[in-house]
Symmetry: C2
Subunit: 344 residues, 2 copies
């Protein structure tokens, strides 16, 4: 193995041309060129064979240079350790790969999306999928001229693929209401325009409509992480009266909340019911299994990729691909929710 794939290794369109006894541009024509190019069948097959024999693969960088597209997409997420994001990425990667696009993965953390976008720009990226990176936190010009699709976030300037986040909150609320709960709480982050916020809204509104406001002290803000959930739940457990029903903005925080209960020897669902959101695989691994609202994460990613690619392919002035209708969510009733305990 020489450190750098020296030279001599890579076979170019020129090599193919030489072997087929045609010019390089002819090779280009038959291999990647317009279908409307009319080549002699004989020439075409000679080229094809030569290419085959030599194992020719067009250099995408060079193609990109002249076509001004890189056939690469960027996917930006805050944190790959959240299985939900992993699923989104996975879904996006799969359809991208099938369509001949490669995906650059960028983990932005809480901040730092900006730099990643810059880096992608200088790679002539064809478009980006942003999930939960907070578009409004970016300087407007950083995304200018880019093809972008948002996931589970809405912004007037960009199309987005979303789940029915408000419905998710509503489903959670209705479920808990039906179980007879009267004292509610919520744990989740305070990011505007995010799905988290909509979940919260659907939840609180449904509760209000049923005459059950959630006290502001019962509204715990924090990261949508395990740690955030634990913290939030600890605070809730100290409240009097103690909430008997808690909806968490995502499964990770719900799992954290569940854990906090276990550590505090608070029975779930005996003393308090917990409902998460996402339905990640782990939700079924804990005991009791987590009641949650399923969000089609892979599908979100897949659609985002499709939408983005369509936007790219849509030569000229096709309708600039507006946001699609929200993907349906559904309540998955498992073991962490039960009838409210009798009032003390």
């Amino acid at each position: 193995m020489s450190p750098l794939p020296k030279s001599a290794n890579r076979v170019t369109a020129n090599d193919v041309a030489a072997r087929a006894g045609v010019s390089q541009s002819t090779v280009s024509l038959v291999l990647s060129g317009n279908p409307r190019a009319r080549l002699a069948a004989e020439t075409r097959s000679r080229v094809l064979r030569a290419a085959e024999e030599l194992g020719y693969r067009p250099n995408v960088l060079a193609q990109g240079l002249v076509r001004r597209r890189s056939y690469a997409l960027g996917v930006l997420i805050p944190d790959l350790s959240n299985p939900f994001f992993a699923a989104v990425v996975s879904g996006a990667e799969k359809v991208a790969a099938k369509e001949g696009y490669a995906v650059f993965l960028c983990e932005t953390g809480e901040t730092g999306a900006e730099q990643h976008v810059e880096a992608l720009k200088s790679r002539q990226i064809d478009g980006v999928i942003l999930d939960a990176v907070g578009v409004s936190g970016l300087t407007p010009e950083s995304l200018s001229g880019m093809n972008v699709v948002l996931v589970d976030e809405t912004h007037e300037d960009y199309p987005g693929v979303v789940s029915d986040a408000q419905m998710a909150g509503e489903l959670a609320a209705r479920h808990l209401l039906e179980l007879g709960h009267r004292c509610f709480a919520f744990i989740g982050p305070a990011i505007d325009a995010s799905a988290f916020r909509l979940r919260e809204r659907g939840y609180t509104r449904t509760l209000s409509a049923a005459g059950c406001a959630v006290a502001s002290a019962a509204l715990r803000r924090g990261g949508a992480t395990v740690a955030g959930g634990m913290q939030g739940m600890r605070a809730l457990l100290a409240l009097r009266p103690r909430p008997t029903a808690v909806f968490c903005a995502n499964d990770l925080s719900a799992l954290g909340a569940l854990k906090a209960c276990a550590m505090a020897r608070v029975a779930v669902p005996g003393d308090v019911s917990i409902v998460g959101c996402d339905d990640i695989e782990l939700a079924q691994l804990v005991t009791p299994e987590l009641t949650t609202v399923a969000i089609p994460a892979r599908e979100l990613g897949a659609r985002a990729a499709r939408l983005l690619i369509r936007q790219l392919t849509g030569d000229g002035h096709a309708p600039p691909a507006r946001a699609t209708r929200p993907l349906p969510v559904r309540l998955v009733t498992r073991g962490t929710s039960a009838r409210a305990p009798e009032a003390a």
Copy 2:
């Protein structure tokens, strides 16, 4: 006084040159050129300022074309839904980004690594990190001329970054032995040359040395997934005598095994002890918490990236970066392991 940015869209080195009143090649020299290039301080700063004002970003595709490097890495993993792989990717992406490399994420599934590698090749990828994709399953020439670094897999042709997998198995075995267990089992996949296999070996050898062979019926083969773990454990529970100690090749399967026990109302760790491997975040979320052997996943990814990049940068004939010493692993004793139940 100076020309304005040409077409609103992309600003090139030519635009900068025009504005700075120098030639394009000079721009190239000061911006990306050798540090040893000796430019007039005055010229340099003029160029720098012009570039700054225009917001110039060199086109990496073009750079790649001539330099024959793309400054991009590929990371191939079978499945992003396994948090362990997600962590590896995350670690690799972080150091790659810091070093100015972008990473193409490729999820290969059980098979299909080949095509992804081909796709990456035509993108002039600088190198790839392969984690658990089974190098030996690839046609040799598909990786020829590529810079590759393996993660947790050993192969004589490529350098690899590994954890001390055999030690992981040994630690699990010693732990269970110390707890007085005598009837052992193992759940894991049958992939040669993988860390899984080494974990198994470390486990079985340590047991043998202690006079406790693991019966072949107690050796369950299957995917290193939740489903695989559940299946394996179900089979084990039917065995007579029933094993009291089970080591699983990874946490996902351990979690599956734990779940299977819960469903079968078998007490963990009362009736059977379970030890996993990886120490993914979820391990602490289940009840009881999973005893496991911690593998530094992020660190593996990070090191792989560093090693790969060093290999790339190592112009000329630096020692071709052999495999590094195994990263240490450590036993994390939690709630799924306890003293063996009294013999019936």
